[in-house]
Each structure stands twice: as structure tokens, then as C-alpha cells.
Amino acid sequence: MMIDPLSVFLLLLSAATPILFAALGELVAERAGVLNLGVEGMMITGALAGFAAAYATGNPFLGFLVAAIAGAVISMLFALLTQLFLANQVASGLALTLFGLGLAAMFGKPFEGVKAPPMPAGPLRINWIVWLGLIMVPLIWAFLNRSRAGLILRGVGENHEAAHALGYSVRLTRTAAIAFGGAMAGVGGAFISIATVLQWTEGMTAGAGWIALAIVVFSKWTAPGVLAGAWLFGGVTVLQLRLQAAGVAVPVQLLSMAPYLATILVLVIISARQKYSRRAGGGAPGSLGRNFHALR
């Protein structure tokens, strides 16, 4: 089997990109204290909306823009439930995923069997959106750690009572973080339909949204950690595909389990380290998953 390291790396970059976008978006939401399990639903919405827009206009970049908007719009359902109606975040996120999968399947029928418009190659033969994802890593890191707005966002996520007492709007901050997470998940989903698979099929995100959630845990809630996790996942995916192509004597179905098993394994290792380390919480924001209700 011939392995050209550069081409493998390019494949890895591409395989990691959907997860990278979704996980970066979820990272920002979780740093604001919101656990949104609707990533998969937002990704599939973006995958369809982006594909439809790219197909209709013939412009893939417009597709990504529409995907971001669609992801943000559908994430507002989650924001409405959790921020205004104070519903349980876990249940609301699940509802968003179930709803998104259904909605995309329902409106996706007319787009089955058509091809996405070709994407112009970016610098160094790497897709523009892959570049965008890579640039987002330092940008989000800097936003969270070096900007005033990021400081407020982290404050809201770490201790919402204190942030509220200081006069910051917990609800507004969280809604903005949810919208950003939705937009990023939308772009991630659209990367699958527009740039990788080049067509629309029902349920095509195949759990990528859930893997993104696991990668946020893996990253210990940091942007560079998210990149490492996405690359690890991309590596496993490429390796698995390479082994399939090489005709290894293992059934295809078993090989294709690899990304999911790897996710579980990574989750276990990271959770174990966090559980037995001296620092409690392992980097999870203090108010993660808890709703805030101001009594005054």
C-alpha cells in the first residue's frame, strides 16, 4: 500500500473540517454555560440549506453563507426554549436534533440525486472552507482569552449569578453564543454536502454532531484542544477509509465503526484523567447546563 503523507494529511484536514466547525461553535456555547445537544440537528439543517442554496445559485460560497444563517436560525428554537421558557437543556437539545433531522429529510427530497456545483480550489490546493476552519481556531482562542466580550462570555458560563450581579445579561450573552454555535454547526454540515460528498442524502451527517460534542470534552474546553480532537477524529476516519480501500480482511461494517469507537475511547481516557486529577471539573465551565432565572 502506497502512502503519500501529504495526500493523507490533506484528506485528514478535509475529514476533520465538519467536526472542527461544529465543535468550535459548541465550545463557544458551552463556555457561555449552554450545553446544546442539538448540534447534529443544526448540522443536518446546514447541510441541506447550504446544499440547496449552492445548487440553486451555482455558487458554493453562497451555500456556506446560507448554511450558517440556517444553522443560526434553527438554533434560536433551542435558545427560545432554554433562555425564555427555561426548559431543560438536555431535553431541548435532543428535541432540536430530532426536529432538525426530520425537517431536513422532509425538505431534502427534491434535492436527492443532484450534484453540488464544483468548488474552486483554495491556496495550496486546500479548500477555502478548510482554511476558514483553521483560521477560526486562533480567532476563537483570542476572542475567549484576549477580548473583553470573551471575558464576559466566560464569566456568564463560569458563574451566571455573579455575571448577572455585575450587570451583564446572561440571557443575551447565551443567546448570542447559541446563535454562533448554530452558524458554525451549519457551516460544518454544509461542508459534508457541498465539499465532501457533493450531494444530499438523508441523515448524511451520521453522528458527526455527537462526535463534535465529545471533542469539546476532549479539548478541555479550549480552541487548540478542539483542533487536536478534530484532527484525531479525521485521522481515524482517513485510516479507516484507507484500510477499506486496501481490502483488509475485516468486514467493511466493522472498519466503519472505528470513528465511533475511537470517540468513546477518547472520551473515556479524558474523563478518567479529569475524574482522577486534583483539579475538579476538568475545565468544564461552572454553570454548564444550568439555566439561569433572575428573581429580581
Binding site: L77, A87, V90, A91, K109, G207, A214, S256, I264, V268
Partner: protein, 358 residues
Amino acid sequence: MILLVPRQTASNGWQIATPVMAVLATMVTGGLLFAIMGYDPVAAIRTIFWDPLFGPAASYSRPQLLIKAAPLILIASGLAIGFRAGIWNIGAEGQYIIGAITGAAVALALYPLEAWWLFPLMVLAGLAGGWAWGMIPALLRNWFGASEILVSLMLVYVAQRVAAWMAFGPMRNPEGMGFPGSRNLQQYPSAANPELIAGTGAHWGVVAAAVAVLATWVLMSRHIRGFHIRAAGTAPRAARFAGVSPTTLVAFCLGLSGALAGAAGLFEVAGPAGQITDNLGTGYGFTAIIVAFLGRLHPVGILLAGLLLALTYIGGELAQLTMSLPAATVQVFQGMLLFFLLGFDLLTRFRIRRRVRA
């Protein structure tokens, strides 16, 4: 300005009223959605919610109600117990698939043996398979603190691939002329899960669902473990001080809900589905989450919610046939239902007051 005042205890009246409101709101919004898509909204809603029970084809679709509701009720009963304790088993779909596989494996291994004990043994194998698949996230959470939400979900994708592997590999019907899929258990009398009373759709899974409703009601309201579960869900710290072991609860809840989902899978594969195929997963495991919430995590509520969601499946199929509505409409309806329920739930937990200027 509107002010939300938290209630000391959840309002009983709203507990019952909100699911009804959610169903009505779903019908109205669904109707609007149909109108936008160019269908007659009134006809569509009637086709989904009325015709399966009382329409011209009701004699065919009514038995379907029990067939579809049984797995939903069975799975949701187990999930609700965990949800009450704050343990989120989201991977019932995977436990359902594995239960179907382990249960069918017994029948396929012993084929063509005819014995009265074969089917009970398959049920046990289905329970065990689902239990074991549910125990994976339980143990990983107890030993390493890994999120049971993510692990149980990842295992759904793994289970789907196990099913595909079985259908193409070890379990492929040797007389199937190379097509993927196992032998059809419906044509194997000792292993089949047939209709018990002709024309009702009731098979052993329906009986099991009824037993599950009763048993979970006894567990939750009459048994000390049910009290522990409710305590852990409402006041985890207090429960721990009272000697409730969180690790035991995690293992119990995930194991039990896994076993029930596994049994649902076995009843389905030995009955309505008939064989192991690569698309064994039908989404019951996910829909059961909606059933559990819509039923307010209460056995009786789950029974009613299971029947209602079964109705949306059958009505959706009917609407697909007669009005050529897209198949995914049902899923959208189910998602909307959960949205509305979670939204209206505000009323059970808060009083709404006009803010008075001081």
C-alpha cells in the same frame, strides 16, 4: 412586564394540561406547515390523527396501533425511570438493535429445532443483549466518569454497523441466494412472535409493554428503589447523604432501560420485521424519548403518549399513501411535539404574574 415566580411544587393541573396543549399546538403548526407546502391542512391533519382510527381503512390500520405503540411504550418506560434520576440514556436505539440481534441469534443458531422453550429463550437473550449494551455506558460512567449521553449515542452507530455486518455476514440466510438479511423468523413457528388475537395486532410485545407499564408504576410509586430514583433526580446531594448510591442507580437505570429496549427489538425482529437486515433500526429508540417526556415520565402518561405517537406513525404512512406527503413529516411532527411540550412546561414550574411597580 411579565414576571415568572417559581412554584414550590410542580402544578398537577398543568402537568396534565400541557401535553394536551402541546398536541393541539402541533396540529395547528403542522397544519400551517402543510398549507405552506401546498397541501390541504384540514385533510392532512384528519388523515394523520383521525382516519387511522375511524376512517374507511381503519379496520386495517387499527391493529397497527398496538404493533407500533408496544415498542415505544416498552422502551419509554425504561427511559423514563432513568430520566427521573437524571440519567440520560439516549442510546435506546442501539440497545434495541443489539437485543434484536442477540434474540434472533438464539433462533438462528438452533434452527430448525422446534421447541416450546425457544421463544422464551429468545426473549431472555434479547433482554440480556439490550442490558449488556446499556451497561457499557453505565460502567464507563461509573468507572471513568464518561458522559452516558455521548457514549450511549455513539453505541447506536456502532450497533447499526453490527446489524449491517450480521445481515451481510454471519447471519446471512444460507438459502437467501446471496441477498443480505437473515432467515425470516416469521416462517419459523417456534421462533415467531405472531398475532395472539386475530385482528388486534397484539403480539407478545404488546403483553410485555402492558407488564412494563404496570411494573414501572409499582417500582416508581411503591418500591424503595423508585423513591431513591426520584430522590436522586430532585435532590442528588440529599439522596447521597441518605445512602443512595449513585453508581448503583446508574447501573440499574441504564441496565433496565437497555433490557427493555432489547426486548422491544426482539419482539420486533421475531414479529413485524421478521429478519435481521442492515436497516434494523427504525427510530423507535429516539421516538421513545419523546414518548417518555410527553407522558410526563409517568407510566400511565407513557401508555397514552405511546399510543398517540403510534398514531402519528400510522397516520403519517396513510398520508404518504393518500396525499403523497413526505415520509419525514412524522418525524417533524414528533420533534414539534417535544418543542411545544418543553415550552409549555414553563407553566407547570412557574406562576406567571404581572410585575407590579414598587
